[in-house]
Amino acid sequence: MEKHDAKRVAIIIEAIMESRLRQALEGAGVTGFSVLPVLGGSGRSGSWSRDDTVSRGGGMVQVICIIRPEKLDRMLEAAFEVVDRHIGVVTISDCQVLRADRF
């Protein structure tokens, strides 16, 4: 099975910022990503849980993006602009993908 090198970027960000991040990614020509729910967590700004909020603004989501290595930097810059002043974590790791023609 042929595998191709790629980068996996995972961004944990407030749900309320999701649409802005989506737009920024699309603006940077990122062709694919997925959004996963986050139930709760803990960080410098204290700990939280999805059930502890009457408001939709309280939760976070994780945006996962598999991307060709050469596109990484442009993507990170676009994402960073959105994450910048907000709480959130951005991680990058190496991975391999099947069906690279799809990216």
Partner: protein
């Protein structure tokens, strides 16, 4: 005074207040009781749907009043002005930073729809009717305060407001559902009401109990996390500001000539603080402000204050002053 106390006592022993207390108690005792997020959202959609529709039907039944436009305007003015008062008060009696104070102030201009609903049901059990269009006033008061909050920090270069955010604020789901249901109730009138009455009228109080249980759980957990915030200054603010707001609301109501019920509801709107729309907007536009400050104050202090003591107090105030 006697009267306020007996009204307050009666209110304190109503199922909705007791379920709120149960929720707070369960949270403070660290019970794992929780209402799943989807269920809580479903209930809040139900409440907005029901009160919007009922308001619209009331307008359709009683016709439009000349006061409608004036009350809407009064609501917008209150929502816009109250944050400046709140900001001044906060800077005076608390050590909050400009940013935090502005964020908190924005919450107090806006409104809490559940406080409004709770007041409606107190009015109902006292047999007092109110203008049906007050739910439209509630909707109109959600947003202006957000702009005031951002004005308050704009000198510091903080606070980001863009087109996307304005659209999000004005078209947020709660407002759309509330106003949409209001218009549909207005259009379909008594006939429409006959069709969906069994869902939105009789079970309403019971559903409200479950929702207040959830609010109690959330408020209780918030209080535990945010106790650091509760220094005397902010605490006093959280109980004084609603009373100030209610006085302003009463003044407007008297000028406009609202009914007793309408006056109480306008007071409650002015007195209540947002914990849904405004926090969300603040996270986008003013992420530097500390959410635990504004959430603890609005949901942990002012909401319970209004629910238990505030509503009977405002009713007593209005009764004392109102011509009839």
């Amino acid at each position: 005074m006697q009267d306020v106390l007996s009204l307050a006592a009666q209110n304190l022993l109503s199922p909705i207040v007791l379920f709120f207390v149960l929720g707070v108690g369960a949270a403070l005792a660290r019970s794992d009781l929780t209402i799943p997020e989807a269920v809580a959202k479903g209930i809040s959609l139900y409440l907005l749907f029901a009160i919007g529709f009922k308001g619209g039907v009331a307008v359709s039944n009683n016709g439009i009043d000349l006061t409608l436009g004036m009350t809407l305007m009064a609501g917008v003015i209150l929502s816009f002005v109250l944050p400046f008062i709140a900001f001044g008060l906060l800077r005076w009696i608390s050590q909050l930073s400009r940013t935090d104070a502005a964020a908190v102030a924005g919450h107090y201009g806006s409104i809490s729809i559940v406080t409004f609903v709770a007041a409606t049901s107190v009015l109902q059990s006292s047999g007092i009717v109110a203008e049906g269009y007050m739910v439209a006033v509630a909707a109109a008061m959600e947003a202006p305060a957000i702009f005031s909050a951002l004005l308050l920090v704009s000198s510091g270069g903080k606070g980001r407001m863009d087109g996307a955010l304005i659209r999000e604020i004005l078209l947020n789901g709660s407002i759309v559902l509330l106003v949409g249901s209001f218009f549909i109730g207005w259009i379909t009138g008594a006939e429409g009401m006959a069709k969906i009455e069994a869902l939105i009228v009789s079970p309403f109080q019971g559903v409200l109990c479950l929702f207040l249980l959830d609010m109690g759980l959330v408020a209780g957990r918030g209080l535990k996390q945010g106790r650091a915030v509760l220094r005397p200054g902010p605490l006093v603010f959280g109980m004084l500001m609603p009373v100030i707001g209610s006085c302003l609301g009463l003044a407007f109501a008297l000028i406009i000539g609202l009914s007793l019920g309408g006056a109480v509801l306008l007071m409650v709107l002015a007195a209540s603080a947002s914990y849904i729309a405004v926090p969300a907007a603040m996270r986008v536009a003013l992420p530097e402000a500390n959410p635990s400050v504004y959430l603890t104050l609005s949901l942990g202090v002012t909401f319970p204050f209004n629910l238990t003591l505030g509503i009977p107090l405002y009713l007593a105030m209005a009764s004392a002053v109102h011509g009839g």
